[in-house]
Symmetry: C2
Subunit: 340 residues, 2 copies
Amino acid sequence: MQEVIKVAVDAMGGDYAPGEIVKGAVNAVTMRQDIKVYLVGHQDVVRKELEKYSYQSSRIEIIHAQEVIETAEPPVMAIRRKKQSSIVVGMNMVKEGKADAFISAGSSGAILVGGQVIVGRIKGIERPPLAPLIPTKKGVSLLIDCGANVDARSTHLVQFAKMGSIYMENVLGIQNPKVAIVNIGAEEEKGNALVKETFPLLKNCPDINFTGSIEARDIPNGEADVIVCEAFVGNVILKLYEGLSKTLVSVIKQGMMGSLKSKIGGLLVKPALKKTLKDFDASEYGGAPLLGLKGLVVKTHGSATAKEVTNSIIQCVTFKEQEINEKIRKNIGTSPIETE
Amino acid sequence: MQEVIKVAVDAMGGDYAPGEIVKGAVNAVTMRQDIKVYLVGHQDVVRKELEKYSYQSSRIEIIHAQEVIETAEPPVMAIRRKKQSSIVVGMNMVKEGKADAFISAGSSGAILVGGQVIVGRIKGIERPPLAPLIPTKKGVSLLIDCGANVDARSTHLVQFAKMGSIYMENVLGIQNPKVAIVNIGAEEEKGNALVKETFPLLKNCPDINFTGSIEARDIPNGEADVIVCEAFVGNVILKLYEGLSKTLVSVIKQGMMGSLKSKIGGLLVKPALKKTLKDFDASEYGGAPLLGLKGLVVKTHGSATAKEVTNSIIQCVTFKEQEINEKIRKNIGTSPIETE
């Protein structure tokens, strides 16, 4: 018999919760037979949404959680106080082995804190990075770290590089993934203090295929599979990626409305443009895993719609099947630092 | 009689030197009567290029410099040893008052080092930032600092904010320019150590119109006129801006070649697309000034063509006319730190 992957999904987090979250969950269990989804949230609210769909009832279960952590709440306090929130309840399911993974479009801060405090780090992992996939000309690259734990140390970045390699090799199927560190020049002597300290460590790391520095202008070309940086820089890259893509598309569309000729042209190119932009849409690739935890925690965009939720749920299956956490534990989790 | 602005231009620096540089200089003196250009470079090489054009001969003069600093050379060493290089000769002209400004598309490192060592900082300016204009949906914003002096302190960032405000108000004519600091969230408590330390200083600074944090996704919308960050982050933003714009345009164009229908549409939208992309082309806005020096030093893109060179030369006129350096000296240069 096929193993069923149990995924707890925060039904209350994100801009389009619970509607799009519930819809995404229903789509996931419809597409795949090997998934069971636990929708974590207020039972009345979730049930009302679920009633709109038909699905195999044994494959979706509601787990009641009467509180919601808002985006603006200070994360540490929220995780500590709101024991009945969908994030805390869902994370506890992962901790207790009742779920293999937890997905949320809610407060990034709370997810990062909860991941560390409730699910816990794999022994030896100093800091769990948030690692989204970003679209490139050649496919996707993993940008690691985009989390909220800024001001990282060089040893953190080396662990990010290793975890990113394992993820890209096993979840994305990229053989010997190219690892590069974000820098402001190609030469080894360039960079800030952190990059200068990290560069030789990566260079001498036998477990990864380190190709050196990558300048931000080369990231969209897909010149590296794993792009290592500390979280502040990663967050800037990720958000500029989203913002600039959106702005460029909007000015291009606006530009096409300028004359009758270009309007007609615009209609003709619309399907091709749509397809191109779909390839460059981060939500196509699911959420970002928080790597290095004892269980799988995935953060989707706050603006996640059903499609991203479905993709994120399906992503969890590969993560589990490929035993990513076992590989991280075996290959990186050897330092004596305790997890709690 | 009209005052003539004297601009020394590095004829040997950049990917398209000396051809495009010389062409840009000729165009500048053709367009404006109040500019005299000194082309600094090897006299035989420069003369040969100049002979291709007709122009008022008193308005362009060749200043012989027999050496060239290559991009790969370590900047400090290059500035110290190559006394006859176009960069050192040009900078010395500014230092000695023989030129009002120096423009180069050559080695960024050498320009930054030379600016500080040869031209010198205005008394009280701790660090001169490189401040390019970046295109946005609403026009342009000044991104300050994008230089090579990474790991800045909070006091540097406050000076950047003030210099950026003076520049945008007086050179670009933006009343009471909005100043924001690049951050990974909108709240004051978000950010890395540097941002957390700088935020209250900017908030309490009476000379600027500080609007708080700006997330990278909002930069392309033009939500701030002056975007403050330390140089590593600024460099990443600038280069990702260039790289992502180029990649998106290339994938969109490629997408349009997919079917006959979209090919025809592509032909019809081509002029509109070209116009839109021109608005989003950084080279339209000239080079980036290195602010806070005793004279004006401008760094253009390494890939600068004649258009960018011309625009940069003309930009120097406004800079001089508006007495930017006098304003910086008066408003910021009060700290007791010596310039050398």
